[in-house]
Amino acid sequence: MDRAARILKALATGPPRSGVSELAERLGLAKTTVHGLLRTLERQDLVEQDAETGKYRLGPEMLELGNAFLDHHELRGRSLLWADTLANRVGEAVRVGVLHGRRVLIVHHVFRPDDSVQILEVGASVPWHVSALGKVHAAALPNDRRRTLLAGALPQLTGRTIIDPHVLAVALEEIGVAGFATEDQEAVIGEAEIAAAVFDHRGHPVGAIGVAGPAERVTPAGPSEAIVAAVQDTARRLSWEMGAPRRHAVAARRPRVDAG
């Protein structure tokens, strides 16, 4: 099982197509072992073999599994309507993310409500420290988990990325007090995000919801007050739906769904 999982992860993170020997070498396994596992995975449609090159790639069943993960994700499910309402309220894109290891996995993304071309980021992941979603989630974690995050690699994505763990530790303290995080061109130049954490019935952070858009609108001179208010309001109501205690939540009626 472990070796099969490693093959799937190697196919997901390596070149789009890999041959048996490439995979065997990468994973330090015997070619016959890799070949046998690939045949089993192929029967389950988890991988498929390219007819021309004989190389392997991920199969269609992986998408089904990914979709099932998203469908069963409680925060994502509960955030669908709230994210739409928030996007309409502030006129910007909304993203919902959860910390997964050292990265934030985007589990829901509502486009900015205009007719511009936008790329769906559901399924994408970004380093936790370059994302308002990741920073605000991290700020709400117990000290030991926060220290682990701060102790690992902090890659620099732009000139504004915070890569000094001490500076980042102070920023997390401030985020914890403020109840929201701002990311100003720390992941992508020209783009900014404001996010607040969502909590479950035990009062533990389960992820975050945030508004992302051009820096000149989201962080014109510091974080936009209107966006901060809307994000925090949404996060508290969403936390209420997740059963969070009152210090994290505000009783909420489900947002009304506009026709069309």
Partner: protein, 218 residues
């Protein structure tokens, strides 16, 4: 006039008309390759690179109309400020900074030679790297800028058209080389290994701007 400026002025074929030709040439190259740049961006980013840059350089054209008599450095500063405002995304701040830094480096000089132009382009690249923190091999516009500037340095003492031709060739080769790279900066880095196999749109547009520079001299 300082000794330095006299040396730069000794072979000083560049003036405001040269910079105007360059900027108009940039607009023409971007307009001609708008859809191509947008296609490249669709593979790794937001699918707006060509459209956004085109909008920005059209606006630079209007600024040039009203900029009669300005020194070349000031023309570049104004072009840069226009790009920041009108392009948006990451390309606006990056190219805007590049042109502004190049303009500041030229200062109030009315004419300048290859050496001063090289310095100005180095200042432009420094502005880009300060903002983006990208290094060579990250699959960004830096992969076209750096080889171009290295080529210009290697051509120190050469005639302007020859130096700029070498820079263009180097920028184009640099842009082509991004195809095999994995993006480590910008939105394309979200894709990780899936960004391999696509030429970087920013490096591609940078090569076009160097081509426009070469044509402005020739």
């Amino acid at each position: 006039m300082s000794a330095n400026q006299r040396i730069r002025g000794a072979s000083a074929p560049c003036d405001a008309a040269f910079v105007t030709r360059w900027l108009r040439g940039c607009a023409a190259q971007i307009a001609a390759h708008r859809d191509y740049l947008t296609q490249l961006d669709a593979a790794v980013g937001d699918a707006d690179h060509g459209v956004n840059l085109d909008r920005g350089f059209v606006a630079v054209g209007s600024v040039l109309e009203a900029a009669d008599g300005l020194p070349p450095g000031e023309l570049l500063v104004q072009a840069g400020s226009t790009l920041v405002l009108r392009v948006g995304g990451a390309a606006g701040p990056l190219y805007g900074t590049a042109f502004r830094e190049a303009g500041r480096c030229l200062g109030t000089a009315r004419t300048f030679g290859v050496a001063h132009l090289t310095e100005a382009l180095e200042a432009a690249l420094q502005g880009v790297t300060a903002l983006g923190a990208a290094v060579e091999g990250d699959k960004t516009m830096v992969d076209a800028w750096l080889p171009a500037i290295r080529a210009l340095r290697d051509q120190a003492g050469a005639a302007l058209p020859d130096a700029l031709h070498a820079a263009t060739v180097a920028a184009e080769a640099g842009a082509a080389a991004t195809t095999a790279m994995e993006a480590r900066k910008g939105r394309a880095s979200y894709l990780g290994p899936r960004s391999v196999g696509h030429q970087d749109p920013g490096a591609t547009s940078t090569a076009l701007l160097f081509l426009a520079l070469e044509r402005a001299a020739g």
